[in-house]
């Protein structure tokens, strides 16, 4: 069963708005996107049909990069990293209210720590952690974002961050990836849907 998912890709590299690039994008299946740029940043707004959000995003990334040589998707929006102002907007609270929650002067405390710019005034948090805190600690209904959104950006971050690593660090990354892969494989195999399918096969005598 498929659904249509909306998302935006930020794309670095060659101009996507030339006739040649637009034609090529359409030919590789990106006729479900509109191309634009703002402040020197190129973006593509997608309405893509797929079996899941992550499947939609990953297929769009593959299509864009195949269509235009040198094009490289760097981010999927809405961004996982959010400022206090963005948290306030998404949770329908005032900025001061969120600031007080973040430093434990209001609410039950244990607000997630900043994920970036910890020592600066304009700190950034991971939206998935913040949204989970609002849901657990305050029982607020806040949009978590589609499942797979953080994973999509993590994949993009990872592939762009390994190019300047030395041999030792590459080996460390490979080891961590192997561990993640191991865990993902266990989750996949132990999922009820996967086991139900195997049980159905087991129930047929000719399955050996």
């Amino acid at each position: 069963m498929t659904e249509t998912y909306e998302f935006t890709l930020l794309v670095a590299g060659p101009d996507l708005q030339t006739d040649e690039a637009l034609n090529s994008l359409a030919e590789t299946g990106c006729d479900d996107a509109t191309v634009g740029s703002s402040g020197g940043v190129q973006y593509m707004d997608f309405d893509r049909e797929a079996s899941s959000y992550l499947a939609a995003v990953l297929s769009a990334i593959k299509d864009v990069e195949a269509a235009v040589p040198g094009a490289r998707v760097v981010r999927v929006l809405p961004d996982e990293y959010v400022s206090l102002a963005e948290i306030a907007e998404r949770t329908h609270r005032t900025r001061e209210s969120v600031r007080l929650l973040s430093i434990g002067e209001r609410g039950p405390g244990r607000f997630p720590p900043p994920a970036a710019r910890e020592a600066e005034r304009n700190k950034l948090w991971r939206w998935t952690e913040v949204a989970a805190w609002f849901a657990d600690a305050l029982e607020d209904e806040v949009p978590l974002g589609p499942p797979g959104h953080a994973a999509a950006n993590a994949i993009l971050d990872l592939r762009s961050s390994t190019s300047d690593l030395g041999l030792t660090d590459l080996a460390l990354v490979r080891r961590e990836l192997a561990s993640i892969l191991h865990r993902v494989r266990l989750m996949e195999i132990a999922s009820p849907a996967s086991l139900d399918a195997k049980d159905a096969r087991w129930s047929h005598a000719d399955s050996a």
Binding site: A193, L195, S207, A208
Partner: protein, 129 residues
């Protein structure tokens, strides 16, 4: 079938986690007995012998044939569980992985014993040692 909520939760206490580790070790011990027997590297454990003789949804097959078919159908799952047990022995399973491994072990044994997952623990002998 919806995902059981227990698969997506962290353990609420160390005691709960320790109990889950103990259950996984016990289930894993018996599943390794099954794998060893199916691979011909050991005899069929007594608790399993009687189970394999029971009719299974109209299938006519000997205990050995059923064990071989089980090993074949669930080869990937048994391998994943074996890997998880090694990680568990080294205390390298996070909460989600530990829950997934325990769920997998229960389901694998429930299928073999043809009973609900909730009954698996009661159908197994106490782990020796």
């Amino acid at each position: 079938m919806p995902t059981p909520p227990e698969l997506n939760e962290e353990f609420r206490s160390q005691a709960e986690r320790t109990a889950a580790q103990a259950e996984l070790r016990r289930l894993g011990y018996h599943l390794r007995e099954v794998m060893t027997a199916a691979d011909g590297a050991g005899s069929v454990p007594p608790w399993l012998t009687d189970e394999l003789r029971k009719p299974l949804r109209g299938h006519v097959e000997s205990p050995g044939e059923r064990l071989a078919r089980y090993r074949n159908v669930f080869a990937d799952e048994l391998q994943a569980l074996d890997d998880a047990l090694v990680s568990a022995d080294n205390n390298q399973l996070d909460d989600y992985s530990l829950r997934a491994a325990r769920y997998l072990a229960r389901r694998l044994l429930a299928t073999l014993l043809d009973c609900p997952s909730s009954e698996v623990t009661h159908r197994l002998p106490a782990r020796p040692g």
